[in-house]
């Protein structure tokens, strides 16, 4: 877990983000650790409510109150974002870390032309003239796949389709040439064909700009096509970390196996999907021990009592499961 490892752009270490009220605290993100290497796409996958979006917001220091980061470190480019002041964080957001949100319909300002919205970020972070920022915006529009860029520059968000708006958001996210882009379910609201195009665009940009990307999704299929490494989140924890190809061949955690079986287990003649029984626990009603044990078909008495620690399986692979302890 070396902070000194030069190859690691982002190193999240024991991060804990909690939402607290008078008498209790819910840990939406509970001691998670992972890192993203330079030039890599890291897929963070989980079902709704598992804490993946809160992880992204924690890195950006945008967790809505009463939520707050209560522990751990977020090392990014020689600094610990977890302890950074709001003022210093403002310089990093948009400039060093770009973000693409899920909902392209609501994340653009409806009364500003899209060109102005791209320039806004540029002007805030780069010391450049009006003409420069305009020509840079138009160049960005071209890079994200528009052809009539001068015309697009003057349009308003409502004149664009969902896929086009998402392209604008991507242009804003990469406008300052950040080293990390966080994409939170960027294609969930889009159709399959549009999704394909947005994904190939993101992939192109990552390699073109030499950026790294944290890609958050509930869709394993996307990570299969896009990512290099994958983390599986459940109830605020990362249960497994793996290399994408290895994960799809041989997932480690029973939850990962269940997820894969319920999606990919469809061979021609099977009569039923291998469903994971039960449902995702609420944060306020988390079970003791391993958070997955009530739904796990391999659960042992130990799983009910203790939470399994991280067990390294190989290079860049680990799992939180007692099945792998010996």
């Amino acid at each position: 877990m070396g902070f000194a490892d030069n190859n690691r752009l982002l190193n999240v270490f024991d991060l804990r983000t909690s939402f607290s009220a008078d008498s209790f605290a819910l840990h939406a993100v509970d001691n998670i650790s992972f890192y993203i290497k330079k030039g890599e796409i890291y897929g963070l996958v989980g079902e709704s409510g598992c804490g993946k979006t809160i992880t992204a917001l924690s890195i950006m220091k945008l967790v809505p109150p009463p939520g707050e980061i209560v522990g751990g470190h977020i090392f990014f480019e020689d600094r610990d974002l977890a302890t950074l002041s709001d003022r210093d964080m403002e310089k990093i957001r948009g400039d060093r870390i770009g973000m693409v949100f899920q909902e392209p319909m609501t994340s653009l300002n409806p009364v500003l032309r899209v060109g102005e919205q791209i320039e806004e970020t540029l002007v805030a972070h780069k010391n450049i003239s009006k003409e420069e920022s305009k020509s840079r915006s138009i160049e960005l529009l071209r890079q994200v796949g528009f052809d009539k860029t001068e015309k697009k520059y003057l349009q308003y968000p409502h004149q664009l389709s969902g896929g086009q708006r998402q392209r604008i958001l991507i242009a804003i996210a990469v406008s300052c040439n950040p080293s990390l882009v966080i994409a939170d379910e960027p294609t969930t609201a889009l159709d399959v064909a549009t999704e394909n195009k947005i994904l190939s665009l993101l992939k192109e940009l990552v390699s073109g700009y030499g950026m790294s990307m944290l890609f958050i999704t509930h869709n394993l299929n996307i990570i299969k096509r896009l990512g290099q490494r994958i983390g599986i989140m459940y109830a605020g924890r990362i249960l497994e970390q793996n290399i994408v190809d290895d994960f799809f061949n041989e997932p480690l955690h029973p939850y990962s196996k269940g997820l894969l079986a319920s999606i990919f287990g469809i061979k021609g003649n099977e009569k039923r999907l291998k469903a994971i029984p039960g449902s995702v626990p609420r944060l306020s009603e988390l079970p003791t021990g391993c958070k997955f044990h009530p739904r796990c078909s391999f659960a042992m008495p130990l799983c009910r009592e203790e939470e399994p620690p991280i067990r390294e399986i190989g290079n860049e692979k680990w799992v939180r499961c007692f099945l792998y302890q010996n």
């Binding site: 399959v192 994904l199 469903a275």
Partner: protein, 311 residues
Amino acid sequence: MGKMLSVSELRKVYEVKKTAFSLKKDRIKAVDGVSFELESGKTIGIVGESGSGKSTLARCILLLEEPDEGTITFSGNDLLHMGKHELKRLRKDMQIIFQDPYSSLNPRRKVFDTIAEPLLFHNIIKKKHVKEKVIEIFKKVGLDEDFLDKYPHEMSGGQRQRIAIGRALATNPSLLIADEPVSSLDVSIQAQIVNLFMDIKESTNISMLFVSHDLNIVRFISDEIMVMYSGKVLEMGEKDEVFYRPLHPYTEMLIDSIKGELFKKAKVDTFDFNDGCVYYPRCNSREPICSKEMPHLTGEKEHMVACFLST
């Protein structure tokens, strides 16, 4: 095997104003000349993306939307030319399950009452026996008796969808229309509900229309697949035919995307067409002829396609 449902040349056009103040209206063909037949005991899966008209088609069949043209024949009855009372009698034989189990259940009503209501409304059972019947339905959809007195907000999404399925099955319908019944559920819960549909399919002789944007789920549950795009049927046929030998470029693209295949370089979208194929603007294998007219659905019943390049 009789025909349970037969739909012919169904059309539904919506008129929408171009902008808030304009007098000019755009005509949006939500369902544009769709014909198909559903045999009893079979399931047809309807795939397509949002805006393809698949939900409108489902709603038109149940007359939740009034179609503009076409005929719908349900077990020998012409639905578009029926009296109110006859239609009410038929309603118990055709039921629907909606996408969102949060908004499709009455929040102020216990789930027991939600399921009891159709039983009493259609005089299927006497009031004193209704509890036994509801418990039986609960068992069928995989819920135990503890849930009888709960309200929807006390239940998870998967459990609510089980209630919605129970309500639909209560009247013992011969046709069940499921409109995206699993897409609002978590991945691990989707599989449970898909399995429940399989149980229902096997234990009853129900005919189903299963509407979804997820080809994987549709393939699992259906006997036949119908691919819709922009109100038109682009491809239709037996599920293995469509899945393993797709003929339409759109179907191919859908299948590639669920296999997790790497992308092919996509052609840029074009809007240079008027009367051509509805998929022309986004098609990767488009030819000049495709911009001239919309191809008809042709081929044997096992596998039909509307594409110039596959015939």
